[in-house]
Amino acid sequence: MKKILLLALLTFFGLQAHAQDAKSVSKTHGKYDIEVKGNCNMCKKRIEKAAYSVNGVRSAEWHADDQTLHVMLNDKKATPLQVQQAVAAQGHDTKFNNKDVKATPTDYENLHGCCLYERE
């Protein structure tokens, strides 16, 4: 159908999602913005892939400019913490609701050169 239309709408929804923070959008699904550190497109692929590996994650999108992973998940199947752990295991430090889940030094050093973000 109207992929473009859908995209436009999705963008709008994306904007709306910005306005709300970690707000449950329905009985079963919640949207969460998790802070994830990274640099480039290569990081983006790795971070999103890690998020998707968690069962119950419906959509995951990471933006480099605001260092945020926007996830939507089924609250009955997954928690933001599980997403944090999956992403951290791939080498990226995460933060959600003031809770840090950091990558181990080994996982961080295994990252590709352009992904070696500055650690706090």
Binding site: M1, L6, A64, L116, E118
Partner: protein
């Protein structure tokens, strides 16, 4: 290419043994974004390199220096002592340039590596590059589509994809099939170019969502959306072949949810030209009025978007001998002439709903009604076709588990009522009713990285085509950086509207003969074809310039075909079922490069091998060049806030083309077996004064090549040797035009 291979080989080598004599590194900015094109040099030497798009660089260690100088315009230069084989360099902006806005020009033809199918998106900017007054002319700058004249009378242009004519392409407007049935011959000229927002051109088997008919490709046109439109737009155009056009759009935003646009298009061709002195008009005279009113309602909170369109079109064309006067000569043998009058009414609506709590799930409904009435005569041949159509499509999009796995499913139906009459010595009535209903399912998997696949299937029930399944597969794989391999495979089935699609043949003394054998489509079988395709594209940097190169190869295999046989006899056209093999192979090799900033070169070489079993043997498809070369050059001067210039030129070379068999005619009424190769050049210059005003001038066919003899039997057009349908090149010599565009922002 070479560099990439070297890099690959190098990369592998580096993996195997840590290269101690090479410094690898990455340059990023303060926002951790890679810096592309930064200069990396050993201090006081000329040994250096530039970073690639990911900010990476490699540089052999230098014996005379271990100080690395990293610099880029707008950033503070860094000088770093090197003692390792890997370094990460962060550049900080130097403040002096803080105010500069860096913008990359978006290309008007986007060959993205993202989509799974082999799709190119042409933006409206691409359409501004040619005289382009309607859709049929808007592909002049697109190498994947060949634009040709169809006959010497109607002046219409015929497009081909993979060497197959437009009936084998599913042509849709906002995903509703638009150029089909009665509108097959001239339908593309019924959409003015200024109405178009973008065009998506997909090669090979298309998606199953829009139907089962596409065989060689899909072309979908998106019209301008009232919500994004500007209050007023005006375009005026005039050309040396006395064609005048006027386009005016008036947009009104009634609220933040509701907007409407009135599109008004008028064109006139007044000039009677006979530059080749064969007694016939080189291009028809006529006029078109085309009016569209489009509404858009959008409620973001509720997730609703809807469109409603009403359109009316009236198109008149007159061609034939210079002295022909319809009032006194129509239906007589005083002079040979032709008139084609078409009225069209379209009403369509669309509603899309995105589930507010599940943004990846949506449902859409499209409904369209279309009335098309063509009354025409070509000499003593008379052809009338009226089509009433209703089309509906219901689509549900969602995901399986997560957004890596998407699917679309739904049903669509179409109903067509044709009143079709052909008068050739006697009247034959080909009126009929067609209907079909079908269900489709399309699954898309995308791992967001290097692989995606679309599996599609349809099941349709049609009164004329029976019950049948349509499978389609597209896959995309990224083997290494900036390269993409695509493959596609699919089946298409269609009912050939043999008269509507081959109206150009009415401009001849050929007798229309249908070799019926009990099939359900004009007594013939429905057409069935399989299409396979493979393509490869690689982006790379050549001497520091952005470039890409690639090829695609497609094969179309007809298992059933309504063959249009003009080789049996020059006095006949025989429509018969395929008895034997029929295939179309096409190979396209592209190379594109940005020579300097704002100067882009596109080149393509195309090879076509198209053969069909005719009554008289297995022959090359007539009027089809085996080899074609396409070169397009575009340049834009830098805009310093006071306007800029745009230059665009397209060169086409066409190899010899096989001409239909005429050897049985008397010597002076014969064509040679093959045409001569020829080339043509189109160019345009635009002066953009501001965002709201621009003027353009251009030329078409500037090499002034004209087909030496377009019409056989032109001295006796009612005799048995008359034929104006064998057109392989331009009829009109050089043509110059000028126009202006005004936008009230």
């Amino acid at each position: 290419m070479m560099r990439n291979y070297l890099f690959l080989i190098f990369f592998v080598a580096a993996q195997m043994a840590v290269a101690q004599n090479i410094l690898r590194g990455v340059v990023i900015d303060q926002d951790n974004q890679p810096v592309y094109g930064a200069s990396v040099v050993w201090e006081n030497t000329s040994e250096g390199t530039n970073t690639d798009e990911s900010g990476n660089f490699e540089l052999p260690l230098n014996s005379s220096s271990n100080q690395l100088v990293v610099s880029f315009v707008g950033y503070k230069t860094e000088v770093l002592p090197i003692s390792t084989t890997f370094i990460r360099v962060k550049l900080y902006t130097d403040g002096a340039l803080e105010e500069i806005i860096v913008s990359a020009a978006r290309r008007s033809m986007i060959k993205s590596q993202r989509p799974t199918a082999n799709t190119v998106v042409m933006s409206s900017a691409e359409l501004l590059k040619a005289a382009c007054c309607n859709l049929s002319e808007s592909f002049e700058t697109n190498p994947s589509i060949d634009v040709n004249f169809s006959d010497a009378v109607s002046g219409s242009k015929q497009i081909k994809m993979l060497g197959l004519t437009s009936p084998y392409i599913l042509i849709a407007e906002e995903n509703i099939p638009s150029v089909r049935g009665a509108s097959q011959a001239y339908g593309l000229s019924f959409t003015p170019g200024t109405w178009v927002e973008s065009i998506q051109v997909t090669k090979g088997a298309g998606s199953v969502i829009n139907g089962f008919e596409s065989i060689s490709g899909q072309i979908n046109t998106e019209l301008i959306k009232p919500m994004d439109d500007i209050p007023y737009y005006l375009n005026v155009y005039g050309s040396s072949d006395s064609r005048f056009e006027l386009n005016s759009h008036i947009n009104e935003k009634l609220s933040d949810k509701l907007a409407t646009t009135f599109f008004i298009h008028g064109n006139m061709r007044l000039g009677r030209h006979d530059n080749n002195h064969d007694g016939f008009l080189d291009s028809p005279i006529g006029s078109q009025i085309n009016v569209l009113n489009r509404w858009q309602y959008q409620n973001v909170e509720k997730g609703i978007v809807s469109f409603f369109n009403v359109r009316y079109m009236d198109d008149k064309k007159q061609g034939g001998q210079m002295d022909f006067n319809p009032r006194t000569d129509k239906g007589t043998t005083n002079y040979w002439g032709s008139e084609i009058n078409t009225q069209k009414v379209d009403v369509s609506g669309k509603v899309g709903y995105v589930f507010p709590d599940l943004p990846f799930q949506s449902i859409g409904l499209q409904v369209a009604y279309n009335y098309h009435n063509q009354n025409s005569y070509f000499g003593l041949n008379k052809y009338d076709i009226k089509q009433n159509s209703v089309y509906g499509n219901l689509i549900f999009n969602s995901i399986i588990n997560n957004t890596l796995n998407k699917f679309s499913t739904g049903i669509n139906f179409s109903y067509d009522n044709y009143n079709e009459f052909l008068y050739q010595n006697q009247v034959t009535d080909w009126s009929r009713r067609d209907n079909s209903v079908g269900a489709f399912f399309e699954y898309t998997y995308d791992n967001l990285d290097n692989f995606s696949v679309i599996l599609g299937g349809r099941l349709d029930v049609s009164n004329r085509l029976g019950v049948f399944a349509t499978p389609r597969i597209h896959a995309r794989y990224v083997p290494w950086e900036d390269a993409v391999i695509r493959g596609s495979f699919g089946r298409g089935k269609r009912a050939a509207n043999i008269f509507a699609e081959n109206q150009n043949l009415f401009a001849s003394s050929r007798q229309f003969i249908v070799a019926q054998d009990g099939g359900k489509v004009y007594g013939l079988s429905p057409e069935i074809a399989w299409n396979y395709g493979l393509s490869f594209n690689q982006k790379f940097t050549l001497f520091g310039k952005r470039a890409d190169a690639g090829f695609d190869f497609y094969r179309t295999d007809f298992t059933k075909q309504a063959v249009v046989d003009v080789d049996f006899s020059p006095q006949q056209v025989v429509f018969h079922n395929l008895n034997g093999s029929s295939y179309a192979n096409s190979l396209q090799v592209d190379f594109n490069i940005e020579l300097i900033k704002h100067l882009n070169l596109r080149t393509a070489y195309k090879y076509y091998d198209i053969k069909t079993q005719y009554y008289s043997g297995k022959l090359e498809r007539p009027l089809q060049a085996k080899n074609r070369v396409f070169v397009n050059l575009e340049y834009q001067t830098h805009d310093h806030g006071n306007g800029h210039w745009r230059f665009d030129a397209t060169y086409n070379w066409l190899d010899k083309q096989r001409l239909p068999h005429t050897a049985s005619n008397p010597v002076n009424e014969r064509f040679p077996a093959y045409s001569n190769p020829f080339s043509s050049v189109n160019a345009q210059v635009t002066k953009v004064f501001s965002d709201s005003f621009e003027i353009y001038v251009g030329g078409e066919n500037m090499t002034n090549y004209k087909q030496p003899r377009p019409i056989l039997g032109n001295t006796d057009p009612f005799g048995q040797y008359f034929d104006a349908s064998m057109i392989y090149g331009p009829l009109f010599g050089q043509m110059y035009y000028a126009g202006l565009r005004y936008k009230f922002l």
